[in-house]
């Protein structure tokens, strides 16, 4: 196989995995899922680091540093904001349990 065909194979398989893996998502999670996927493409940071670190031209390095800043905002901000959203889904559990317990106590009394 020639190299472009290897890449094409990886690409096509990834397309199917990408669709399959989220096909059963409930609409409740659409927003966090979009935000999480958004953070994942922040991996372009890796590319920005590579390009900047291997460049010798001063202007190119400056542009590369801008790309690194942008990509880190995407990656770090994306994961943090997704976690913040998901935290809200989880936090209520102990409270709900505590409330149910309080109600039971009330009923017992």
């Amino acid at each position: 196989m020639s190299e472009p065909v290897v890449w094409l194979t990886i690409f096509v398989l990834s397309v199917f995995v990408g669709i399959e893996v989220i096909s059963k998502v409930s609409s409740t999670l659409h927003t966090p899922l979009m935000s999480g996927a958004n953070a994942i493409h922040g991996i372009i940071l890796l590319g920005a680091i590579l390009v900047t670190g291997t460049s010798q031209n001063a202007v190119a390095v400056a542009v590369g540093l801008v790309a690194i800043v942008l990509a880190s905002v995407n990656m770090v901000g994306g994961f943090v904001v997704t976690d913040r959203m998901l935290q809200m889904f989880q936090r209520r559990k102990p409270r709900a349990v505590a409330r149910d317990k309080a109600e039971q106590d009330g009923a017992a009394r």
Binding site: I43, G47, V73
Partner: protein, 462 residues
Amino acid sequence: MSGTPVWVQLVYLAAAICFILALKGLSGPRTARAGNIVGAVAAVVGCVVVFFYGNLHHVGWILGAIVVGSIGGVIGARRVQMTQMPQMVALFNGVGGGAAALVALLELHERLPHIASENWFTLAATAFTIAVGAISFAGSVITFLKLQELITGRPILFPGLPVVFGLGLVGVVLLGVLTVTLPAMWIGIVLALVGLLVGVLLVLPVGGADVPIVISLLNAFTGLTVAAGGYVLGNTLLLVAGTLVGASGTFLTKLMAGAMGRSVLNILFGALKGGSTLGAGEVSDRPVRSAGPEDVAILLGYAGRVIVVPGYGLAVAQAQHTLRELVDVLGARGITVDYAIHPVAGRMPGHMNVLLAEAQVPYEQLREMDDINSEFKQTDVVLVVGANDVVNPAAKSTPGAPIYGMPILNADEAQQIVFMKRSMRPGFAGIENELLFDPKTTLLFGDAKDSLGKLLTAVKAL
């Protein structure tokens, strides 16, 4: 791929698997948070590895830039109000697209001296990354401005927009072809600039209600951009991660558009055809029945079964905490109360769940549309707070209405309907809601937070 040590490629493979697991985790409520963390760890590991094999120069500067960007990202992510989260995601997505375009431009610059030996496919992928990255960046900035209401949320059209947009697209294709046939730095830069223009023109005509779908679409665009960038740089991790996001993002966009009963093409180009998202926005003068908070309190306080339909108006008024208090008080009176969540309630699918979760509404009270729709018949009162289109029966009864075919909550089947609205203005879709004029309907005018506060006091006084 050549030049990358095998161990690094294996680390990339592991990171790619983690990204798949992250997406898988994010699609289930119990695994979502863990999934997100798995994704974050994989991304960090992927980036750290580069420093160990890349023989990088300017490491100090690079680390500095990462610190600056990370601090900016964390501050943005922590400070943002939950109601403003869609535009924050749009902004994060845009900067990612911008970074990808810059990376591709730099790579083009690096390769120019020995361009003759380059595969045409690599150059095509470079052109794709530059153009689509720029489109995603500019488009995301416009969606941010629209949602932040720094510019109007209504579709922006000017005479000749379709022509300019068409010329822009042709320009992108021509410049892309030139990048492959006669590669030069200035062509890449012009391509990026024309891409920016196309991105702006793509989003300007989209109405406020549809902007979230566009965010999702641009998210998929950025994913594909990163994938193409991965091919250019010979990096498998970028290729796999970008493709995963591109594919799942496209599929998610389709799901979201489907929940609104619209096609993606209609959302993007509907306004250009003088189509649906424009709406009349006129105020009707037909008679309605309005009531004060005390009357509504009696209606609610002596009901047996109540369903609340929250909409974006609730979030805008920051009234979700007051609403939760009201529901708690009603619950204490022995009334069964649930929230009926339409898939597109709020500004993005699932947005309303996040907002109500923030107000500590118990998860069990949040019911999805398909789950609760059969229960409206046995419901005494439906309380619609700041929602409109998601309960508009025109979606079922009026072929030709912009929302026709959109699944709706069957609020019209309840015994009584109470609408809390600021005015008689139609919803985002810009069409009148027959339900407002139904004899079973009572309207409570006013700001949602204000009205809910009064309602709460009145119910407590019963």
